[in-house]
C-alpha cells in the first residue's frame, strides 16, 4: 500500500508537470475564488469593527433637575445598572457638571457673565449611559420613563446612531451579497475548469490508462492520481491565497487606523489568530468541490 501510494503520488505530480499551463489556469481560478472569499471575510471584520466603534460612542445623557438629591440619582444609577442592555453608567455630580461647563466656556465672556448672573450652580446631576448595542437604546429611553424618577429628569439627550449602524450594515450587506454572488460564479468556473483539467488529463494519458487497465491496475490506482493532483492544486491555491492575503492585510491594517484609531480594524490580528481555521476550512471546501468535480469528469470520461 505504501509503495502504491508513493507511485500514485508520483503519477499525480507527473500529471501536474505534463499539463503545467492547464494546472496554472486551474490554480489561478481557485486562487481568485479564495481571494474573493477572503475579501468577504475582511469586509465582515471591518464592518463589525466599524459598528462596534460607532456603538461604543453611543450614549444617552440624562440631565436631572438641580433640586434632585444624590440618593435619587443613586437609585436611578442602580436601576439602570440592573438592566441587561446597559453596559456602563457614569455619574456626573452637579458640581462636576458646573466645573466642566466653566472649563468648556471659559473663553466665552457672555456665557460666563450669564452664569454669574444666575448666581449659584444651575446644573443638576447628570448620568451618561452606555448601551451594549445601538438597538438597546430605545429600551433604555423607555426605562427612564419609570415614574420613580421620571419627574426628576429635566432632559434626555440621545443622538440616533441606529440609522448610522443600519446604513453601515445595509452597505456592507449589499457588498457581501455581491461578493457571495461573485464567489458563486468563481466557484462554478473553478468546478468547470477542474472538470476540464481532468478531462484533458484523461485524454492525454489515455494510452497510459489503457495499458494500466490492460496489465491489471486497480481502479483506485488509475483514479487516485487525478484526485491527488486536484488535491495538490487545491492546496497550492490555498497556499498562494494565504501568501497574498497575509501581506495585504498587514499593509491595509495601518490604513484602517485612520478610521479606527490606533488599534486599527483588527483584520491582521483576525487572520493571525484564525488563519489555520480560515485557510484549513477553505482547503476542505475546495477539496470537496474538486473531488466532486474530478469524480464527475472521471465518471464521464474514464471508463474503468
Amino acid at each position: 500500500m505504501i509503495v502504491s501510494s508513493f507511485r500514485v503520488t508520483k503519477f499525480a505530480f507527473q500529471n501536474f508537470w505534463r499539463n503545467f499551463w492547464l494546472s496554472v489556469i486551474t490554480v489561478s481560478m481557485l486562487v481568485m475564488t479564495l481571494i474573493t472569499i477572503n475579501i468577504l471575510l475582511v469586509l465582515n471584520v471591518v464592518t463589525e469593527e466599524a459598528i462596534s466603534l460607532v456603538e461604543d460612542r453611543i450614549e444617552v445623557s440624562v440631565y436631572f433637575h438641580d433640586y434632585v438629591d444624590e440618593a435619587t440619582v443613586g437609585g436611578a444609577v442602580e436601576y439602570l445598572r440592573d438592566l441587561a442592555q446597559v453596559r456602563d453608567v457614569e455619574t456626573i455630580s452637579a458640581d462636576e457638571a458646573y466645573e466642566q461647563f466653566v472649563e468648556r466656556h471659559s473663553d466665552d465672556e457672555d456665557i460666563m457673565a450669564s452664569l454669574d448672573e444666575l448666581g449659584g450652580n444651575p446644573f443638576g446631576p447628570t448620568l451618561v449611559v452606555k448601551a451594549n448595542s445601538a438597538e438597546d437604546f430605545e429600551l433604555i429611553i423607555d426605562a427612564l420613563d419609570n415614574p420613580q424618577f421620571r419627574d426628576d429628569i429635566r432632559e434626555k439627550d440621545f443622538s440616533d446612531y441606529q440609522e448610522i449602524v443600519d446604513r453601515i450594515r445595509g452597505t456592507t450587506d449589499q457588498i457581501a451579497t455581491f461578493g457571495i454572488a461573485l464567489t458563486g460564479i468563481f466557484l462554478l468556473i473553478a468546478i468547470m475548469i477542474v472538470f476540464n483539467t481532468v478531462r484533458i488529463g484523461i485524454f492525454i494519458h489515455r494510452e497510459e490508462i489503457g495499458i494500466m487497465r490492460l496489465v491489471g491496475a486497480s481502479n483506485w490506482f488509475i483514479k487516485a492520481p487525478f484526485h491527488l493532483e486536484m488535491m495538490f492544486l487545491s492546496l497550492l491555491a490555498v497556499g498562494i491565497a494565504a501568501g497574498i492575503v497575509f501581506p495585504v492585510v498587514n499593509i491595509l491594517e495601518p490604513k484602517f487606523s485612520v478610521y479606527f484609531g490606533t488599534q486599527g480594524a483588527g483584520i491582521a490580528e483576525f487572520f493571525m489568530e484564525n488563519g489555520l481555521w480560515i485557510f484549513g476550512g477553505q482547503f476542505l471546501i475546495l477539496a470537496v468541490v474538486t473531488i466532486i468535480s474530478t469524480s464527475m469528469a472521471m465518471r464521464k470520461y474514464l471508463k474503468v
Binding site: 507511485r7 494510452e207 490492460l214 496489465v215 491489471g216 491496475a217 486497480s218 481502479n219 490506482f221
Partner: protein, 226 residues
C-alpha cells in the same frame, strides 16, 4: 482451462460479434483462432480478458465465472491473463525496462520484486541487452517482444495474443511465434488470434476457425483452411 458455453456478443443495434460459441481449451494448450476480418476473432479475444461482456452464455477462466465479472475484479483477472496486441501498446517515453516494470508497478509490486522479475522476462524474450532503449529505437519484432515480456511479468496462466504478428515481416513473425511456443512450453495457455496462414500452418497445433461469429471448425493439429 478456458470454457465458453453458448457465448454470444451483440453490439448495438444488431451487429453480431460472436454467436453461440462453445469452446473448451485445457490448461497449457496452444490454440490458434483464425478467420477472416469481421468474423469475431478479436471480439472472442476481448471476451476472454473481460474487455467485453457477453450478451449471453457463460465464460469461465480457470474455473472462475467471469460472465458478469464486476469492474473491481477485472484487475485481478488481468493479472492472470497476459494480453498482446498488434500495435504493441508500449509507452514511447519509457525504456524497455520501464515499460515492462510498469505492469508490475501499477499492480503494486515492491521494487525488489520488480528488480528480480523484469530482467528475467527480458532474458526470456531476448531483450536483456536492450533494456535501456526506447521503443522507437527497436524493430517491430523487438517492440512486440517487449509487449510479450510485459504480459509475462505477472506469470499469467493464459496469454491472449491478438494479431501479434500483424505488423511484422516474415522473420520477425517467426521469432514471435517461436517465442509464444516457448512460453507455451513453460505451461502457459496461449490463445493466438491471427489471420496469418503461414503462422497457423507452421504451428501444427489446434485451430479454431470462426465464420460469421460462429465456430466453423475446431481441429487438433489443424491448418488454415479459409
Amino acid at each position: 482451462m478456458i470454457r465458453l458455453k453458448k457465448v454470444s456478443k451483440t453490439y448495438h443495434p444488431n451487429v453480431v460479434g460472436v454467436k453461440g460459441v462453445s469452446l473448451h481449451i485445457p490448461a497449457g494448450e496452444f490454440v490458434s483462432i483464425v478467420g477472416k476480418s469481421g468474423t469475431g476473432k478479436s471480439t472472442l479475444a476481448k471476451l476472454l480478458f473481460a474487455e467485453e461482456r457477453p450478451s449471453s452464455g457463460v465464460i469461465e477462466i480457470g474455473g472462475w465465472d467471469i460472465t458478469h465479472i464486476h469492474n473491481r475484479d477485472i484487475p485481478l483477472l488481468r493479472r492472470q491473463i497476459g494480453v498482446v496486441f498488434q500495435d504493441f501498446k508500449l509507452l514511447p517515453q519509457k525504456t524497455v525496462y520501464e515499460n515492462v516494470a510498469f505492469a508490475l508497478q501499477v499492480g503494486g509490486a515492491k521494487p525488489r520484486r520488480i528488480r528480480e522479475v523484469v530482467p528475467k522476462v527480458l532474458e526470456i524474450v531476448g531483450l536483456h541487452e536492450k533494456a535501456s532503449r526506447y521503443p522507437r529505437q527497436l524493430s517491430g519484432g523487438e517492440q512486440q517482444r517487449v509487449a510479450i515480456a510485459r504480459a509475462l511479468v505477472h506469470s499469467p496462466k493464459v496469454l491472449v495474443a491478438d494479431e501479434p504478428t500483424g505488423n511484422l515481416d516474415t522473420l520477425n513473425t517467426r521469432e514471435i511465434v517461436d517465442l509464444l511456443q516457448k512460453i507455451n512450453e513453460f505451461g502457459t495457455t496461449v490463445c493466438l488470434v491471427t489471420h496469418d496462414r503461414e503462422v497457423v500452418n507452421r504451428l501444427k497445433r489446434r485451430v479454431i476457425t470462426l465464420e460469421d461469429g460462429k465456430v466453423a471448425s475446431d481441429v487438433e493439429q489443424g491448418r488454415y483452411k479459409l
